[in-house]
């Protein structure tokens, strides 16, 4: 779907990039508001950022059992957080009569968003505003330039006030 197509604002497939931050909550509100009941499917892209790949750091004193227990524990906690976020957005979507689908991926946020957009054939992508400096939360920024350059559909950035 090209950026000039009217489908961008009446999207059949709306890609919502959201992983539980405050900015992403504004994106979720905007996406649900834009979505057309009976037409739009909101594809909720949840990214577990690749910073978790290095989160055992240079631990060398523990044995493999302790490290495996830690890895399994972190995976379980991240999955629980993702499920909670997913359930909340799903409820928002169903309340408006909009179809919902979740896509949980691990990786670098922009790369994952591009891959999922291509995979589902997104007509519109909605993201939240970048986090302000000093604001709480994990440091895992969406690389906007890469997204703007390679995204195959229009990109909508929710404003901070839209929440």
């Amino acid at each position: 779907m090209s950026a000039a197509s009217p489908r961008g604002l009446a999207p059949a497939t709306l890609l919502l990039c959201h992983h539980g931050t405050r900015g992403a909550a504004a994106a979720a509100d905007l996406a649900v508001a834009i979505a057309l009941p009976g037409l739009t499917t909101v594809v909720h892209c949840l990214v577990v950022p690749d910073l978790w790949g290095g989160m055992q750091g240079d631990d060398w004193l523990n044995d493999a059992t302790t490290r495996d227990a830690f890895g399994a524990y972190v995976e379980k906690m991240l999955a629980e957080e993702a499920r909670a976020v997913s359930r909340a957005i799903e409820a928002q979507c169903h309340a408006r009569g909009v179809d919902y689908r979740a896509a949980l991926r691990f990786g670098e946020p922009a790369a994952v968003a591009l891959a999922v957009a291509a995979e589902v054939g997104a007509d519109l992508c909605v993201i939240g505003p970048p986090r302000r400096r000093g604001e709480a939360g994990l440091r895992s920024r969406m690389r906007l330039e890469r997204l703007l350059r390679d995204l195959p559909c229009p990109l909508l950035v929710a404003s901070r006030r839209s929440r």
């Binding site: 790949g53 290095g54 989160m55 060398w60 004193l61 830690f70 972190v74 957080e81 994990l138």
Partner: protein, 584 residues
């Protein structure tokens, strides 16, 4: 699952190693090696000139006597041995890499043990290649640059900032993972870095004496006990005051208090830490740990600290255990004494870990409403560091004489039976000793000797040494032309420092002592392997330190971490400077 990645990388690494070995063996790199190893090459040139002169003189003598010129061979210099060592290691590991590389390329991958074990070889070979580059190229290059720039800068930047093979290896690992990433074919092998570090610690067990282990153990238990418990308590108090979540406070206190990332990994599931809390904690610890690894050795050199003082300070003050080993080797890359001290502190920390995990689990259950009860027995058992048993086992084997006669110290042992004939004292030595003996038996000599023995509190076995003991020991040495017992050697080595003793007699005592002490080849080999194991392991650990993880440091956890980390570093420095003396 198939673990091995089909890639020519291992084959290429093997070929690079073999080429390096061949270039060294053929002498093609002599010009470069002469620049890299300046001091060894200078010695080599001198030895070569001396040998050439001896050869010419021998040839001239032979010609004058009308006999054939003798066949003489120059003994290998330090420079020759270094080149030969590089060639040998390159051939061994290059050959193995080529063989495994071909196997990976030609074999049809299939599930099983062979596939699993083969998958770790490329990453290990890659780390080893980096270790070769760092140890044989970068380390001497920086050493030369440091010396060259000294006249201009007024100080040797390579020494002050510890640009040696350890720091450069860790830096290489950090740069590689953050700039290029770890290639998929190497990922499994890079993870083995931990195994090699633990193997290094286990082998280190062979280098301690029982007295040393007791002294260091006592010091480390006192310091780690005070500073670990102190910092855990301060973090808990600060966390309550700043109203951070209980799980955040608990996981941060483990990380800041005990052994950094390892403690965080061990304690996080016990106190139900949230992912973001784990990320903040690990980010804070890695930032402090890496900073400490560069800062501590520089401060240690500026303050003129010895191995025990620095090892104790780094072992207590640096938050993360991997960086403790790094800092100890960065401070003293050519010896093993600082590492020995620092690793005892690391071992003590890890022994404290199960207890701290228990404390924090109990603390968390008490303070967090609805927290599930924790099986304390299971926590204690699961967190016990098994590799410490390996360390103790090697210490025991070594002390009982499995590798070299018992009673050795760092592989050096006394044996009268192994004194070579040519190393025994000659008539001239015996005459000098006889002269010294009659001097010491004269009334004035006896009085001076008695005063010296009393002032130095010199013992023979359990009793204070008397002039008669010295006479007996010296008479024995003159008669036997060698030391017979360790007590005799110890007593005479002390007497050799007596002011006014004849210089030739002193030299004879030292010569006899030297001849009776032997170095164990096994322990010597362990020592060499240790340096490689730690260098190799630390490069691999450097590859686990990602900027993305470090960037998570921030907010209240960073503030608390900053306060406690600074207090711990400065507090332990003061304690070490005021109360700890060198004894290794």
């Amino acid at each position: 699952m198939i673990y091995t990645r089909k890639s020519p990388a291992l084959l290429i690494i093997g070929l690079v190693m073999l080429t390096w070995g061949w270039l060294n063996a053929s002498g093609s790199l002599d010009g470069m090696q002469a620049w890299l190893q300046r001091s060894a090459h200078a010695e080599h040139v001198k030895a070569q000139a001396k040998f050439d002169a001896e050869l010419r003189a021998a040839a001239a003598r032979a010609a004058a006597e009308g006999v054939p010129a003798p066949a003489m061979k120059m003994p290998p210099s330090r420079f020759d041995e270094a080149k030969a060592g590089q060639a040998r290691l390159s051939w061994i590991f290059g050959g193995l890499a080529v063989a495994c590389g071909l196997l990976i390329l030609l074999r049809t991958p299939g599930r099983g043990h062979v596939d699993y074990y083969l998958s770790v070889v490329p990453g290990m070979a890659w780390m080893l290649l980096i270790a070769f580059v760092v140890r044989w190229l970068l380390d001497p290059v920086f050493a030369n640059w440091g010396r060259d720039a000294q006249a201009t800068l007024g100080f040797n930047f390579a020494t002050i900032f510890n640009f040696n093979y350890v720091v450069l290896g860790i830096l290489a690992g950090i740069v590689i993972v953050n700039v290029f990433g770890i290639p998929a074919w190497a990922a499994n092998g890079v993870r083995t870095a931990r195994l090699f570090l633990k193997t290094g610690v286990i082998l280190l067990g062979t280098l301690y004496s029982a007295t040393e282990l007791l002294q260091l153990g006592g010091l480390s238990v006192a310091m780690i006990g005070a500073f670990v418990l102190g910092s855990v308590w301060i973090v808990l108090a600060l966390g309550r005051r700043l109203r951070t979540d209980n799980s955040m406070t608990a996981v941060l206190s483990a990380g800041m208090g005990v052994c950094g990332v390892s403690a965080t990994v061990a304690v996080a599931p016990v106190v139900n830490a949230k992912p973001s809390e784990i990320a903040y904690t690990i980010g804070t610890i890695l930032m402090w740990g890496v900073g400490g690894m560069f800062l501590f050795p520089t401060v240690g050199h500026l303050l003129g600290m010895g191995p025990v003082q620095f090892g104790a300070w780094a072992g207590t003050g640096i938050l993360n255990s991997a960086q403790v080993a790094g800092a100890a080797l960065a401070f003293d890359p050519n010896g093993i004494e600082t590492l020995k001290v620092a690793e005892i502190f690391n071992i003590t920390r890890v022994l404290f870990l199960p207890l701290i995990a228990l404390w924090l689990a109990a603390w968390y259950v008490r303070h967090e409403a609805g927290a599930a009860r924790v099986d304390l027995g299971h926590v204690l058992f699961a967190k016990f560091p098994v590799f410490v048993l390996g360390f103790l086992f090697m210490f025991l084997l070594s002390s009982l004489g499995a590798f070299t006669p018992s009673g050795h110290y760092q592989g050096k042992y006394f044996s009268a039976d192994e004194v070579k004939r040519e190393k025994r004292l000659d008539d001239r030595d015996a005459a000098a000793l006889a002269g010294a003996l009659s001097q010491l038996e004269s009334p004035a000599g006896r009085a001076a000797l008695q005063a010296f023995l009393a002032a130095r509190s010199i013992h023979v076995g359990q009793h204070h040494a008397e002039p008669e003991d010295v006479s007996t020991a010296l008479s024995g040495l003159i008669a036997e032309r060698q030391m017979r017992t360790r007590a005799q050697d110890g007593l005479l080595a002390a007497v050799a420092r007596l002011p006014g003793l004849d210089a030739e007699a002193r030299a004879a005592i030292e010569k006899a002592g030297k001849a009776a002490w032997h170095a164990s080849k096994t322990i010597g080999a362990f020592r060499d392997w240790l340096a490689w194991l730690f260098a190799f392991g630390l490069i691999g650990l450097g590859m686990q330190i990602t900027g993305k993880a470090m960037r998570q440091a921030g907010g209240v956890p960073l503030f608390i971490g900053g306060v406690v980390g600074t207090l711990k570093a400065i507090g332990s420095l003061l304690v070490v400077l005021l109360f700890v003396r060198e004894f290794v």
